[in-house]
Amino acid sequence: MVALTRLVARPLIVPAIRKRRPALAVLTPYLLLAPSALFLLTFTYWPVIQVIRSSLTVRGFRGAAHWGLENYSRLFGDAHFTTAVVNTLIYAAGTIVPSLVLALLFALALTETTRLTGTLRTVVALPMLIPLVAAASLFAFIFLPNAGLLDHYLAVFGVAETNWLGDPSLALGSIIAITVWKNCGYYMLFFLAGLAAIPRDLLDAAKIDGAGPVQRFFRITLPLLGPTLVFVLVIATLNAMTQIDHVIVLTQGGPSDATSMILFYIYQQAQQNFDIGRASAATVVSVGVLFALSMVSLRSLERGIHYET
């Protein structure tokens, strides 16, 4: 990252070719961008416009359509949607905080490079390589009431049979646990890279000055990890909003909406209820959130880059 970002600052030099063939040269960069732009227009920009349009289109009887905000009023009037929004917030907080804290702790404990830490890093990173549906298949058994792995071993401690995915008060927590298990190692890699970039002499100097490990962490390590932290936070938020494969496979949003989230709600409206108007309105809401996030993150990314150079 450091090596790459440093190069951003390198001044651009206009290539010599441009002078030789002026008429074509003006168009060349746009021609080179055209293939990418074609796909981006079709599957990223146009859909945003289209979804805004269809969220504002109200279908009446006999296919007659007019403009209006009815899809939005129906959306916000839908208790299922409100539940999905609340669940998304709980899920985001519930996955981001523990996985970031755990990832940072893992990274701190495994900073040094030895054979042991190398193996431990691999183990913690493994879940990020498997599909979320594969993780869901494994946890389907782990969370299985009575015969499942968790209940089997908890029985040793006298814990009674628990319906981890079927109990409305536990289901979201169980889904959160899968996500934390799956993503923690991914975030750890960023923290390891961030920790490696912290100058050793800084920590050594503080040590000589008599700063304890806790002081060193809060006064030096954490502030210097700031950009990495923001960066990981953005990725984790994006993941929380866009990855619901385990919900689809394991709970279908249930029991009684306990694990329904915004993207699952969209999926449900489109796939099961064929209510495109409401699905579009919900999509516009999430796109809005992501836009806001992108504004924050692009700025923080820039700051991170400046910091590292």
């Binding site: 755990l102 498997i130 298949s137 389907a140 058994f141 689809i248 993207l263």
Partner: protein
């Protein structure tokens, strides 16, 4: 090597890592444990026999694994090939040229990092239908054929290459396309490899979009296949078969990761946002 990590921290990390490994350990043990072992031992992590390949044989015959592998490889490979073209051309334009609207266009490209296809399933599905790509493998690939991450990565990679190489080629009368293909790309192998690792991992594991973009079983990829397969096997409580099926889906990437670990780790930390 100085050791200044306290022993207690290492011990705690080891314990936590052990906990992290349990789902994989169960998958490994349960997949090779024969069905006759009895329900009580189903959850046991202790590798007790009788062992055999029965679960894998069952999984292989009750799912359509050859088809799913083929479709997944076709989707990942197809996406990667098209991406390499789009990403190299755009990366070159942003790295080596100056043109009006450059910064705005670059920002617009980067927007794709956040407007990921899962969030746009509803409008993208109607686009697929309009283009007659619904329920086809190219339909699964289409939204990923441009990659903002790839453009960003290739721009950075091209900038690390000294201009002298290109200037020599220009003197020999090479066109821009020839310069990209014959001069820059061979020198960009590390960047391309990093991009390929991230791209293939992402799309190998993708579920929601391939699920929604297809309807017929012949177009299912591994993840979609595994979901339907698990649902079926779960009804029959065939957990050993599920473990074997999950292993079949996850094994290629896990093996690649363990073999080329350093490559993977540096690619992923480079990726940041996919």
């Amino acid at each position: 090597m100085r050791r200044d990590t306290p022993l207690i921290a290492l011990a705690l990390a080891s314990a936590a890592a052990l906990l992290w490994f349990i789902p994989f350990a169960w998958m490994a043990v349960a997949s090779i444990r024969e069905a006759g072992a009895g329900a009580a031992d189903l959850a046991s992590l202790w590798p007790s026999g009788p062992f055999g390949w029965g679960n894998f044989a069952d999984a292989w015959s009750s799912g359509h694994f050859p088809l799913w592998y083929l479709n997944t490889v076709a989707v990942c490979g197809g996406i990667l090939i098209v991406q390499c073209v789009t990403v190299s051309l755009a990366g070159y334009a942003f790295a080596r040229m100056r043109f009006p609207g450059q910064n705005t266009l670059f920002a617009l490209f980067l927007l794709q990092l956040l407007l990921v296809p899962p969030i746009l399933v509803v409008p993208n599905l109607s686009t697929l239908v309009a283009l007659h790509l619904y329920d086809t493998l190219p339909g699964i690939m289409a939204p990923y054929c441009a990659s903002a991450f790839g453009v960003f990565l290739m721009r950075q990679t091209f900038r690390t290459i000294p201009r002298d190489y290109e200037e020599a080629a220009v003197l020999d009368g090479a066109t821009r396309l020839q310069i990209i293909v014959h001069v820059l790309l061979p020198l960009s192998r590390p960047g391309l490899a990093a991009f390929a690792i991230v791209s293939v991992t992402t799309h190998w594991n993708e579920f929601l979009w391939p699920l929604m973009a297809t309807s017929s079983p012949s177009n299912q990829v591994l993840t979609v296949g595994l979901a339907t397969f698990t649902a079926g096997a779960e009804a029959g409580s065939e957990w050993g078969v599920i473990a074997a099926g999950t292993f079949l889906v996850a094994a290629p990437l896990l093996a690649a990761f363990v073999l080329f670990q350093r490559r993977f780790v540096s690619s992923f930390t480079l990726s940041g946002i996919k």
